[in-house]
C-alpha cells in the first residue's frame, strides 16, 4: 500500500525540519519527501492540511501486563492503546508474572506482539532471576531472544555485591542496565513524597534520599565497571543535579522522567485520591520545575508514559494500600504538547523527548521522518482538545490522575512500518476514500 500525505506540517525533531511538505509512504518505508513525493496509480492521497505529521512516539516504559497479569490488561488492549496514542515503539519492563527472566518468555512475548501487529515491542529482561536481586539472569541468551536491556523494574537490589556483578556482567556483553533510583530501605513502605503534604495527611513518606543515595551508589559502580546505565524515572531536583554532574564527568548515563511528573506535584493528591498514587511519588513544585529544566538543558533524555494499567480493585481502597501507577500510553503525546504550550516551547523541541531522543537512546530505527526510514509516523490535529475519561481510553487501565482534564492534540492516524495501525473513527473515512 502507498500513501501520499499532502500538506501536513511535518515536524521532525532529529533533522530539525518543520515545514509543510508532502510525504510518500511506500511499503514499510518513507519513500520520498517534498517535491519527490508524488502519487502513482493506487496511491491513497490524504489531504492533511492543518494537521501535523510527526515521527511515531517511542515510549521508554509501558507495562503491557503479559504474561500473568491479564486481569489488569492484555497485549491486545495495550497495543491498541499504544497506536491510539501515536506510540509506534515501546519498551516494556520485566515485572510481569513470572518476570521476564527466561528467553522463552521473551520470545513468546515478542511473537505474540508481532502477531497482533501495531507498535514495536522492546522488552527489558530481568537483571536478576525472579527480580529477587540474588542471582543474575542469562543476559546473553536473553539479549539474543530480543531484550533491549536489563532491569529490576521497581525492585531495588539489596546486596551491593550483586549489583556490582550485574553491572560487570552486563558490560561484558555490552548490555545496558536500566535501574530506578530507589534505595532498598530508605522510604520503604512510603506512599507519598516526604514533605508538608505527607506530614499533614499522615502518609508514610519517601524521602528524596532514597533517590540520591541510590544514584550515588550507581555512579560509583558505573565508574568502576564501565557499564552503560539508564536511570528510569527521576523525580527530584537533587537527583537531577547528581545526574547532571555525572554526565558532565563523562559517565555513560542516560535518564528519563514520566509525563505525570512533568505536570503533577504532591499537593494534587488532595484528599487521598488514589489516582495520584504513583511510583516514584509526586514531589514538590520545585522538583517539577527541575524536571522541566532538566529536559531543556539535556540532563534528562526522554519523557515516558510509565504506563501502568491498574484495575479498580487496586485503586478503590485506602491510599496506603492502593496499587501504584496510572494509564499513560494515550496521554504521552498530549501531556508533552501541554508542557510545550505552558512553557512556550517550540513543539518540535518538546517532541524530541518522545521521538528522536528515546529512539536514539535505544539505538533502534525510527523516531525520525527521513527518506528510506521506517514509516512509523503519527498524524495529529494539534488544535483539537479531548477529555480524559474511561470512555476515551482504549487501554484496559482506566485510572489516570488526569481524569477529566482537557488535553491538547488528538491522534488521527498512526502508521507502523507503513501500515495504518490506527485511525480515529471520525477520520478513517478520509484515509480510506481518498
Amino acid at each position: 500500500m502507498t500513501y501520499l500525505i499532502r500538506n501536513a506540517r511535518v515536524l521532525d525533531p532529529k533533522s530539525g525540519r518543520d515545514e509543510t511538505i508532502d510525504v510518500l509512504i511506500d511499503g514499510s518505508t518513507i519513500a520520498a519527501l517534498g517535491t519527490r513525493a508524488v502519487a502513482s496509480p493506487g496511491t491513497r492521497v490524504v489531504d492533511a492540511r492543518g494537521l501535523w505529521l510527526i515521527p511515531g512516539l517511542c515510549d521508554l516504559a509501558a507495562r503491557l501486563r503479559e504474561p500473568g497479569l491479564e486481569h489488569k490488561a492484555t497485549l491486545e488492549s495495550e497495543l491498541a492503546a499504544a497506536v491510539a496514542g501515536g506510540v509506534t515503539s515501546l519498551v516494556c519492563p520485566p515485572d510481569t508474572d513470572p518476570p521476564l527472566d527466561e528467553p522463552a518468555l521473551v520470545e513468546m512475548l515478542k511473537r505474540r506482539a508481532a502477531s497482533l501487529g501495531g507498535a514495536n515491542v522492546y522488552p527489558l529482561g530481568a537483571l536478576t532471576v525472579g527480580l529477587n536481586g540474588e542471582a543474575l539472569t542469562e543476559m546473553a541468551e536473553l539479549a539474543e531472544a530480543g531484550c533491549i536491556g536489563f532491569s529490576q523494574a521497581n525492585r531495588p537490589i539489596v546486596n551491593t555485591t550483586v549489583l556490582l556483578r550485574a553491572f560487570e556482567y552486563a558490560r561484558t556483553f555490552d548490555q545496558v542496565v536500566w535501574l530506578s533510583p530507589i534505595d532498598a530501605h530508605l522510604g520503604r513502605g512510603g506512599v507519598a513524597a516526604s514533605g508538608a503534604l505527607a506530614a499533614r495527611l499522615g502518609l508514610p513518606s519517601v524521602p528524596v534520599l532514597t533517590e540520591t543515595v541510590a544514584l550515588l551508589t550507581f555512579f560509583e559502580l558505573v565508574r568502576v565497571s564501565g557499564c552503560r546505565l539508564h536511570i528510569a524515572r527521576l523525580s527530584s531536583a537533587r537527583g537531577i543535579e547528581l545526574v547532571r554532574r555525572a554526565r558532565a564527568e563523562g559517565l555513560p548515563v542516560t535518564c528519563d522522567v514520566s509525563a505525570n511528573h512533568l505536570h503533577l506535584i504532591d499537593l494534587d493528591i488532595g484528599f487521598f485520591d488514589t489516582n495520584y498514587r504513583l511510583d516514584p511519588p509526586l514531589r514538590s513544585q520545585r522538583d517539577r520545575d527541575a524536571i522541566r529544566a532538566g529536559l531543556l538543558d539535556g540532563t534528562i533524555d526522554a519523557i515516558c508514559s510509565d504506563h501502568t494499567p491498574v484495575d479498580d480493585d487496586g485503586k478503590q481502597i485506602p491510599f496506603g494500600e492502593a496499587e501504584a501507577g496510572a494509564t499513560g500510553l494515550e496521554l504521552l503525546l498530549s501531556l508533552t504538547l501541554k508542557w510545550a504550550m505552558e512553557a512556550c516551547l517550540e513543539p518540535i523541541r518538546a517532541l524530541a523527548s518522545i521521538t528522536s531522543a528515546p529512539a536514539h537512546l535505544l539505538g533502534i530505527p525510527g523516531g525520525e521522518i527521513v527518506e528510506g526510514g521506517p514509516a512509523d509516523m503519527c498524524l495529529l490535529d494539534p488544535h483539537a482538545f479531548w477529555t480524559v475519561s474511561h470512555a476515551s481510553l482504549k487501554s484496559q487501565g482506566k485510572n489516570s490522575p488526569f481524569d477529566g482534564y482537557e488535553l491538547p492534540a488528538r491522534v488521527l492516524a498512526t502508521f507502523v512500518a507503513g501500515q495504518l495501525a490506527f485511525s480515529a473513527p471520525d477520520y478513517a473515512s478520509r484515509l480510506d476514500a481518498s
Partner: protein
C-alpha cells in the same frame, strides 16, 4: 478542591478531619458539646435527639476505649448502636471495604463511626456513601492511621476551653511521638484554627515527620526548653513497637528525655494543665505522680469526650438538621 466533609452548602456532612473546618464550625461543635456535658450527670442520662437512628461502629482496628465512648454517646442520644469489629469478620473472607459498607448501608445505617489503620480510609468511605447512598448517611472518623482523630482533637479543645477560658493567649506543647500520632495532627489543626498563638511540638528528631513546620508549629527537641511557660501540656502515647529499634533505643532513655516528670512540669506555668489521650504508659511518657497529680485533667477529658461525640452526632444527623 472540594472538601469532601462538607456538602454543597458548606455544611458539615461528615466529620473526617479538623483540617479544613472553619473556626465557626469548630466553635459550634464545642458550644453544642458544652450543652451536653450536664446530660451525663442527670438521673435519666438520655435525650431523644437521635431516636430511631442507627449508629454503626465500624472498627477495622481495635480500640475498646474510643468505641465505648462513641457507643455511650449514641446511647445517650437514644440511637440504636451496632458494634462491628471488621478485622475479625468479613475482610478476612475477601470482601472489599466498600462491599462491607454497601451491605451495612442497606441495613439503613445513618452514621458510620469508622476507625481504620490506613490514613484516609474514612475519605474513601465518605466519597462512596455520597455517591451510592445519599446525603442521609454520615461518616465520623474515629481515627485513621497517622492522619486524624478529629473527635479527640475536639474533646481536647473542649477541655482546654473549660480550664483556660479562651485560646487567644495560650502556649500549648504537644510532646512525644508526633510522627505516628493522629491525635497530634488533629490537635495542631484545631489549635491553629482556634487562634492559639504558639503551638509547640517536642520530641526526638526520629519521631518528627519532615514538613511538620509547615503545619503551624514551633519544633523543640529539648523538653526543658519546650515546656518553658506553657499553659497546656498534651502528652502522646508511645506505642510499644516504637520503643526498641531504629526510632528509639529504649523506653528508659525516652522517659529520661521526654517523659513528663514533676521536675519538667515545673518549667511550665504554675497553673498549666496536663492532658493525655489515653491509654497511658506510666513511666514511659508520663510519671504517675503527674498523671494523678493536681494539674492532670486526663479523666475529665474522657467525660468531655462523650459530650463532644454527642455533639458531633447531633449536628450531623439530629432531628431538624
Amino acid at each position: 478542591m472540594h472538601n469532601p466533609q462538607l456538602n454543597k452548602h458548606g455544611e458539615l456532612q461528615h466529620l473526617l478531619s479538623i483540617d479544613g473546618l472553619s473556626r465557626e464550625m469548630v466553635v459550634k461543635i464545642l458550644d453544642t458539646a458544652t450543652g451536653f456535658v450536664g446530660v451525663s450527670d442527670r438521673d435519666v442520662k438520655k435525650v431523644p435527639l437521635l431516636r430511631g437512628k442507627s449508629v454503626f461502629n465500624l472498627f477495622f482496628e481495635n480500640s475498646t476505649r474510643t468505641r465505648t465512648t462513641f457507643e455511650i454517646a449514641a446511647t445517650r442520644l437514644s440511637a440504636d448502636v451496632i458494634n462491628l469489629n471488621i478485622n475479625a469478620s468479613s475482610t478476612n473472607k475477601g470482601e472489599s471495604l466498600l462491599d462491607t459498607i454497601d451491605n451495612l448501608a442497606a441495613m439503613h445505617a445513618d452514621i458510620f463511626v469508622v476507625r481504620h489503620a490506613q490514613s484516609g480510609a474514612p475519605y474513601l468511605i465518605a466519597k462512596h456513601v455520597d455517591r451510592m447512598h445519599g446525603p442521609h448517611v454520615h461518616v465520623i472518623n474515629a481515627g485513621d492511621g497517622r492522619h486524624a482523630h478529629p473527635t479527640q482533637g475536639l474533646l481536647d479543645m473542649l477541655t482546654i476551653r473549660h480550664y483556660k477560658g479562651d485560646f487567644s493567649g495560650l502556649t500549648v506543647a504537644i510532646v512525644g511521638d508526633i510522627l505516628h500520632s493522629r491525635v497530634a495532627r488533629s490537635d495542631i489543626h484545631a489549635l491553629n484554627i482556634l487562634g492559639v498563638p504558639e503551638v509547640r511540638v517536642i520530641g526526638p528528631r526520629t519521631l518528627m515527620p519532615s514538613g511538620l513546620a509547615d503545619m503551624g508549629v514551633r519544633i523543640f527537641y529539648d523538653m526543658q526548653e519546650g515546656l518553658k511557660d506553657v499553659d497546656v501540656v498534651i502528652m502522646l502515647r508511645l506505642q510499644s513497637e516504637r520503643m526498641n529499634g531504629a526510632l528509639l533505643p529504649s523506653a528508659q532513655e525516652f522517659f529520661k528525655n521526654y517523659g513528663l516528670t514533676p521536675e519538667k512540669l515545673a518549667r511550665a506555668k504554675p497553673d498549666a494543665i496536663v492532658m493525655h489521650p489515653g491509654p497511658m504508659n506510666r513511666g514511659v511518657e508520663i510519671d504517675s505522680s503527674v498523671a494523678d497529680g493536681a494539674q492532670s485533667v486526663i479523666l475529665p477529658q474522657v467525660t468531655f469526650g462523650i459530650a463532644v461525640r454527642m455533639a458531633v452526632m447531633t449536628l450531623l444527623a439530629g432531628a431538624g438538621t
